[in-house]
Symmetry: C2
Subunit: 217 residues, 2 copies
């Protein structure tokens, strides 16, 4: 078993942070956990969890289960979460300020090291301890601080442009808060954060009135 990053499927990678989240909560509470209990807590099957973990190694002991803090540490290392990650944020409007004020990134090891905007009234100020710079300085900061993750909190109309600039200066991973389907070249990863889409994906199940057939052309 020689796992290559490319051999691990994206669905699996997306589940590991879930495992990390429950394990963190379990740590201190109990030493050992079974795939069954993890599955119960995450509403996943026990087999799924065992198979996911088996892609990266043999972490469990038969007849017992998994060592909570051992597994947690291993998953953190696998995901690259045993270090701090620097991020830059572009777009210091209302949304951008909320993101800067959001404490959970810091607690999880993600540090926003600089923020950018085109509005000269904002440039030079600090929000949540972060200096706001002019967007033209994006490249310099990204290079000098070795940043690889960007947060787009610009308005929708400017989001693609911001994404392009980030890609241009070498950013490899983007969290996009703008409600647009941005395009990125291969090799750059994009994650959309859009609470409205989450809400919209749920109303389908609430509209048991008017059956679908009536809506069909």
């Amino acid at each position: 078993l020689r796992p290559e990053v490319g051999a691990i499927r994206e669905v699996v990678v997306a589940r590991l942070p879930l495992y990390i989240r429950v394990l963190s909560r379990l740590e201190g509470e109990k030493e050992i956990v079974s795939s069954q209990e993890l599955g119960y807590r995450l509403q996943l099957s026990a087999a799924q969890i065992r198979k996911d973990l088996s892609l990266f190694g043999k972490f469990g002991k038969q007849g017992r289960g998994y060592d909570v803090s051992g597994l947690l540490g291993a998953l953190r290392r696998i995901m690259g979460l045993d270090r701090e990650w620097a991020m830059v944020l572009v777009g210091v409007g209302r949304l951008g300020r909320a993101v800067l004020d959001y404490g959970r990134f810091t607690r999880a090891g993600f540090r926003i090291v600089a923020a950018f905007d085109i509005d000269q009234a904002l440039v030079g100020k600090r929000i949540g301890g972060v200096l706001i710079q002019d967007v033209t300085e994006l490249g310099d900061t990204v290079h000098s601080k070795g940043v690889r993750i960007g947060i787009v909190s610009a308005p929708a109309s400017q989001a693609q442009g911001v994404v392009d600039s980030m890609v241009g200066v070498g950013i490899k991973a983007i969290l996009n808060y703008a409600p647009v389907a941005a395009r990125v070249p291969p090799g750059v990863r994009l994650r959309d954060i859009d609470p409205v889409m989450a809400a919209q994906s749920i109303t389908f199940y609430l509209r048991e009135e008017s059956p679908l057939e009536e809506l069909m052309p």
Copy 2:
């Protein structure tokens, strides 16, 4: 072809809001769009889009494509987005206030009609025009206003309790901003909104240092 809500797969339902998002942006810009162009903009295959849409009816014209506003309207009706949805929010801390201030829900047809907290210092105040009530009044408000969607913005330690209360008073869909794997009974839909997990799911691809093999037990 008689589509039943239950026959439509969840992956498909999750994509429809994406289609709605591009179509809204396309509306006014052009009249007709092909599955090819939609696929290009969303980084999906044209076949995928045609197959998804075909589950709900024949919306396109061969040789031409899809009528942008016609398709947009149809998808909105299918998703139940041709009406306003009332929501309640529980947990008016920093995060809750940011959600209340976030204008996009309103613009998308989701109205937060009431907010709840246990902190008596907050009860009676208004944020973004929304009255903050004591949590004990949750049931009354949900019933009198016919609310079916809840937003959990309480601290992690209280999130499951809030979810349970919401379920108890008849809420059927929950947007969970708390970083916990909450459990809901069958029939209640839950969507997690967790920017930190989004960030964590991306670092795996950034850590090409230290190959996975070295991390294996």
